[in-house]
Amino acid sequence: MNTRLLPLCATLLICLIAYAACVFQFPAMFSTRVAGNLLTDNAFLGIAAVGMTFVILSGGIDLSVGSVIAFTGVLLAVLITHYGVHPLIAFAIALLITTAFGASMGAIIHYLEVPSFIVTLAGMFLARGMCFVMTTDSIPIDHPFYTALQGLFYRLPGGGRLTFIGCLMVLVFLVGIVVAHFSKFGSYIYAVGGNRTSAELMGVPVARTTIGIYAMSGFLSGLAGIVFSLYTSAGYSLAAVGVELDTIAAVVIGGTLLTGGVGYIAGTFIGVIIQGIIQTYIVFDGTLSSWWTKIVVGVLLFSFIALQRILVFLSLKRTTATSGG
C-alpha cells in the first residue's frame, strides 16, 4: 500500500473509533442533529483549514488566519450596522480586502525571501490591530438578509439541520479537492512544497504560485470570517483568537506533512471533524471542562507527528534498501 495514504487512513480510523466510542457511551450522539451541528459549528474552522492546507502543502505557514477572521467580522459589522451597506456588497468588499492582504503577504514572502512564519506574524498583528482601530466594541448585525441566510437550512430526517454555512464548508472542501488534485495550480503547489528549487528548474512559476497560495488563504480566511459573522451575528475584535492553531492542528491531524509536499485536503476535513467530535463529547459529558479539548488535541498532534516520522523513516529505509545503498 502507498505509505502516503497511511496517515490519512489512520486519521479516518481514529475518527471512526472516536465517534463509535462516543456513540457507545451516549447513544444520542448517533443522530443527524449532532452530525448537522458538527458541520455548522465547525464551518468557519473548516473553511480556514482548507486555505491552511494549501499553505502548508507549499511548505509555508499562515499565522494570520484567526486575525483575518476577526477583521472580516468587524469590517462586516461596521459596514452593515454603521453604514447601512447591503451584506452582499459588504461580503464582496471584505473578500477583496482579505484576498489582497493574503496576496501581499505572499509577495513579501517570495520577493524578500523571508520565512512565511515571520511575515504572517506581522500580518496577524496588523489584522488584529486594524480590528481594534475600527472598533473595540462587539457590534451586533441585525439585517433581514442575515436572518434569511441563517434561516436557510435543509431539514434532515431525524431533526438535524443542514445549514447554509455547513453546506458552504462542504462545498469549499469539494472545490479545494478539485483544485489540489485536478488542476495545474494544485500540482504547482505540490511541486513547490516538495522541492522549491527543482520546481523552479522544471518551469513552475514559483512567484505566481506562492502569491496565489497566500491570496487563496486570505480569501478563504475572509470567507471563514463571513461564515463566522453569520454564525455569531456580530463582529468582535477579540473573536477567533487562536483559530490559526486549531486550523494547523486540523491540517496536521489530517495527515499533511508540515514539511510540505505531502497531504490531502480530505484529511483536513476529517481533522476538523475529530476536533468537533471531541468538543461535542465534552458537551454531552457535561462534567469535563473545555480545556480537555486542548489537551486531547495536543496528544493527537503528538501521535500524528510521531506516526509521520516513523513512516518517513521507514520509507527512507526502504528506498536506501532498494537502491542498494
Binding site: L112, L121, F125, L126, C131, F132, S289, W292, K294, G298
Partner: protein, 338 residues
C-alpha cells in the same frame, strides 16, 4: 566583561538609534518620562517602569535567542509561563514553603523545555511543529492545574518576586539583569556560544565535526523552558494570581520579535543575547509610549507589525547587497549573506 569595541557599537547602531528615537517620542508625549525618584526605598519612574514591565520579555528573549541561533523556534514559551505560574500559585495556596514552590515551578519549565528538546533533537521534528504541541496542550494543562479558576494568593514571599525590590531596584529587573549577565558570561566565556552558532549554521556538518548536537539542542531548549518558567513566576507574582488563559498570551511572539529586532537571523547562526534584550526593551518602550500618549493600547499591534515589516525590508535589502549597491561598489550577491 563584554568587549564593547567600535565595531560592535556600529553594528548595534540601528537598534540604539531607534531606542533613542522611541524614548525621545515618549518624552515629547509625556514630559516627565525621564524623571526617576526614590520613594519608600524603591526607584520609581517611567524608565524604571519600561525595564520592570519589559523584564519577562527580556527573560524570554534570552532563552529564545539561544533557540533561534540554533535555527529553531520555541512557540511554547507563553504556554510554559502559564503552566509554571499556575503551579506556583496552586502550590502556594496549598501551603507549600516558598523554596519548594520555586524549585517545582522552575523544574516544570525545565521539563517542558527538555520535552521540546527531545522532540527536536532526537525525533528530528521541525522546531515549529515540536513546540506547537506544547503551545496547544500547555494552556490546557495549566487550566487543569488551576482547575479552571484564577488562583490568587497573598503569600508575601512569592509576591516579592513580582513587586518587591532589592537595593531600590525592582526584583523583575534584578532577575532579568542577573540572568542576562550569567547567560552572556556562559555563552561568551566558554565555547558554548560558538557551538550554538555552529549547529545553527549547519547541524549535520557540526555533528560530523564531532559535536554532540543532540545534547546541545536538548540543553538549549531546556534553558528556554527554564527562562519561560522564570518569566511565568514573575508575572504570576506581579498580579498575585495565576490566569491559565491569559498569562503569557502572545508573549512567545513578543520574544521572537525581540530577538529579530535585536538582529539575530531566523535562519540561525550569529547571535547576540545582549541585542535581544535591547530588542525587548525597545518593544516595551513602544508599549509604554503608546499608553503614556493616550492612544488606545490596541495601536501597539499595528506598530509592531510595521516594525517587523521595516526590519524585514532592511534585512532583505542588506542581504541582497542593497547598501553596497547604494555606495556604488556593487559586488557579487553571495558572500554578503551571513
Amino acid at each position: 566583561m563584554i568587549r564593547l569595541n567600535t565595531a560592535a557599537l556600529t553594528k548595534a547602531m540601528p537598534q540604539l538609534l531607534s531606542l533613542m528615537l522611541i524614548l525621545f517620542l515618549n518624552y515629547l508625549a509625556f514630559p516627565g518620562f525621564f524623571e526617576i525618584r526614590l520613594q519608600d526605598g524603591r526607584l520609581f519612574g517611567s524608565l524604571i517602569d519600561v525595564l520592570n514591565r519589559g523584564a519577562p520579555v527580556i527573560i524570554l528573549a534570552i532563552g529564545m535567542t539561544a533557540v533561534i541561533a540554533s535555527r529553531g523556534v520555541d512557540l511554547s514559551v507563553g504556554a510554559v509561563m502559564a503552566v509554571s505560574g499556575a503551579l506556583a500559585a496552586t502550590m502556594t495556596v496549598a501551603g507549600y514553603p516558598l523554596p519548594v514552590v520555586i524549585v517545582a515551578a522552575l523544574g516544570t519549565g525545565l521539563a517542558c523545555g527538555l520535552w521540546n528538546g527531545i522532540l527536536v533533537a532526537y525525533f528530528d521534528l521541525q522546531p515549529i511543529v515540536a513546540t506547537l504541541i506544547l503551545m496547544v496542550a500547555g494552556r490546557g494543562i495549566a487550566q487543569l492545574i488551576t482547575e479552571g479558576s484564577i488562583v490568587t494568593f497573598t503569600e508575601p514571599g512569592l509576591i516579592f518576586f513580582g513587586t518587591g525590590s532589592f537595593a531600590g531596584i525592582p526584583m523583575p529587573i534584578l532577575i532579568a539583569v542577573s540572568l542576562l549577565v550569567v547567560a552572556i558570561a556562559v555563552v561568551r566565556r566558554t565555547a558554548i556560544g560558538l557551538l550554538i552558532e555552529s549547529i545553527g549554521i549547519n547541524r549535520s556538518a557540526s555533528s560530523y565535526a564531532g559535536l554532540n548536537s543532540k545534547l546541545l539542542l536538548l540543553v538549549i531548549y531546556g534553558f528556554c523552558g527554564f527562562c519561560a518558567s522564570l518569566a511565568g513566576i514573575i508575572i504570576a507574582a506581579d498580579i498575585r494570581g495565576a490566569d491559565a488563559n491569559n498569562a503569557g498570551l502572545w508573549l512567545e511572539l513578543d520574544a521572537i520579535l525581540a530577538v529579530v529586532v535585536g538582529g539575530t537571523s531566523l535562519f540561525g547562526g550569529r547571535f547576540s543575547i545582549l541585542m535581544s534584550a535591547l530588542g525587548a526593551v525597545i518593544i516595551q518602550a513602544m508599549n509604554t509610549g503608546i499608553l503614556l500618549s493616550g492612544f488606545p493600547p490596541e495601536y501597539n499591534l499595528i506598530l509592531k507589525a510595521l516594525v517587523i515589516i521595516v526590519i524585514l525590508l532592511a534585512q532583505s535589502f542588506s542581504s541582497l547587497g542593497g547598501w553596497a549597491f547604494l555606495k556604488g561598489e556593487f559586488r557579487s550577491k553571495g558572500g554578503k549573506r551571513q
